[in-house]
Each structure stands twice: as structure tokens, then as C-alpha cells.
Amino acid sequence: MRAISSGVVGVARFLYRFVVGDDWTVAVAMVLALAATGILAADHVSAVWLVPLVAIAMTGVSLRRAARRRRAA
């Protein structure tokens, strides 16, 4: 039982690290952008630019936040 629960915890931890990583705001913003693009595509609106734009913007935000953290430390 203990082996199963530690295995489940290990898989969950791996999935979190793989999908979310060290900045959950980037992952959330990307999932929202993908969902919005999917909804627009279903309405025959091609929003091919939305996901790259959010990816670029969130990378900038995340880098800036990390720099601020480094400076505070």
C-alpha cells in the first residue's frame, strides 16, 4: 500500500514538474490561451497568433519576476 501511494505521489510530482514547472502562471496562461484558440476555431475564427503571443508575453513576465526575486535575495 505504501509502495503504491509513494508511486502515485512520484508520478504526480513528475507530472507537475513536467507540465507546470517552476512558474505556474505561465502554464495557466498557456492553457487559457489554448482553450480560447480552440473555442475560436470551433467558431471558424483562426486565432493562430494568440498562443505564440501569450507564450512570448508570459516568458517576459516570468523572466522579469525571476530577476526581481534574484535582486530581492
Binding site: F14, R17, F18, V19, V20, G21, D22, D23, V26, A27, M30, V31, L34, T37, G38, A41, A42, S46, A47, V48, V51, P52, A55, I56, M58, T59, G60, S62, L63, A66, A67, R70, R71
Partner: protein
Amino acid sequence: MTGAGVVLVTTFLASAVEAIEMVVIVLGVGATRGWRSTVLGAVAGFALLAVIIAVLGVALAAVPIGPLRAVVGTLLVLFGLQWYRKGIARVAARGLAGVGEEAVEDEDIPSSGVDWVAFVLAFKGVLLEGLEIALIVVSFGLAAGQLGLSVVGAAAALVVIGAIGFALKGIVTRIPRSLLQLVVGTLLTSFGTFWSLEGLGVNWPQSDLDIVALLAVYGLVAATYIGLERRRIHQAALEMA
């Protein structure tokens, strides 16, 4: 060119495009995270692919590739962005550090056992691209009534592109680690963006060529952010002095 020649060349070229994407991912992940787990992931991907092909045969044409692209693409873009960000920060801070290092110094790479990140990335890349090649073979081969030749064209593409990738392995491992992480992050983010949107039903205006456009855009943005990060680091150093 005869009808058979057209089938052979077309399936070779179409499969080569997918094989390039597969080899780029495996090569990039292997060079960045180590080869053992990456090769294990690639082999596992091929094994599952072989099982799927053996079980489904020509019924493969009915596999819903869209949802699979959406899931794999989403995971790749989420993971790729992490390396993209880390790569930008590291190149800005350390420049082209780590030239010729064999082992990757990264906090989340296990020193023993399977590196599941490398395994999963290689596995997904091989499985998705392999399925796309299988779909090309089945759909084009059946439409042209030349399934056998179609299989030969695709197999030849896999062998040729795989051999080129293997030959490039030595060069790739000599790329500075910080730069390599940025390059692989850019590649994963570009492929992930392309596949996830394609899977969601978005039509890319120039089809597979848009991957190149995405690579160019993400590459230019990375160069801009590296410049900004360097300025930030320089300012922080001046404030400390």
C-alpha cells in the same frame, strides 16, 4: 516519372518532413538531458507504434490524430517554454558556458535510474511523428493503390533522416549547454505550438512551413530577451558596487 515513382518520391518526402521533426526532438533531448533515457523513450515509442500498426493495420486511417496532436502539442509547449525561459536566463547570465561538456549539469536530472523527462519527450516525439508517417503511408498508399511502395518510401525516409541525425550527434554535443537548452526549448515550443493548434482545428496558412516561421519568431524573441536580461544583470551589478 512513372506512377510508382511518384508514389515512392511523394511518400519519401512527406515522411521525411515528419522524420526530421522526430529526429530533431530526439537529438535535442538526448544532447541536453543525456542519451540513455532518451534512447529508451524513443525505443518505447517505436515499440508502441509497431503494436498500434500491427493491431490496426490499414484501419489506422480512422485514428483521431487531431486530439492526439492537441494533447502532445500542449504538453510539449508547456515543457518547451520552461527550457526556453531557462535557456534565455542562462545564456544571458553565463554566455556560451559548458562547451563540450558530456554530462549535463542540471538540478532536475537524476544521476542514476531513468530520467523520465527525457524518456517522455522522446517517447511522445517518436509516437506522434511515427503515427503521422503511418497515416501518410496508409492514406497515400491506399489512394494510389500502392501500399507496398508507400511503405518503402516512408521506411527509406526514416533510415536516411535517422542516419543524418546520428551523424550530427557529435556536432550537437559540442554545442554549449546553455545555448543547447535554449535551442531545444525553442524547438519544443515551436513544435508544441504548431501541433497543439493544429490539433485544436486551427489551419496554419503555410502548413508545415509555419514551423520555420515559429522558430524564427521565438528565436528573435529569445535574442531580444537575452539582451534585456543582460542589461538587467549589468544594472544589478552596478547597484551592488
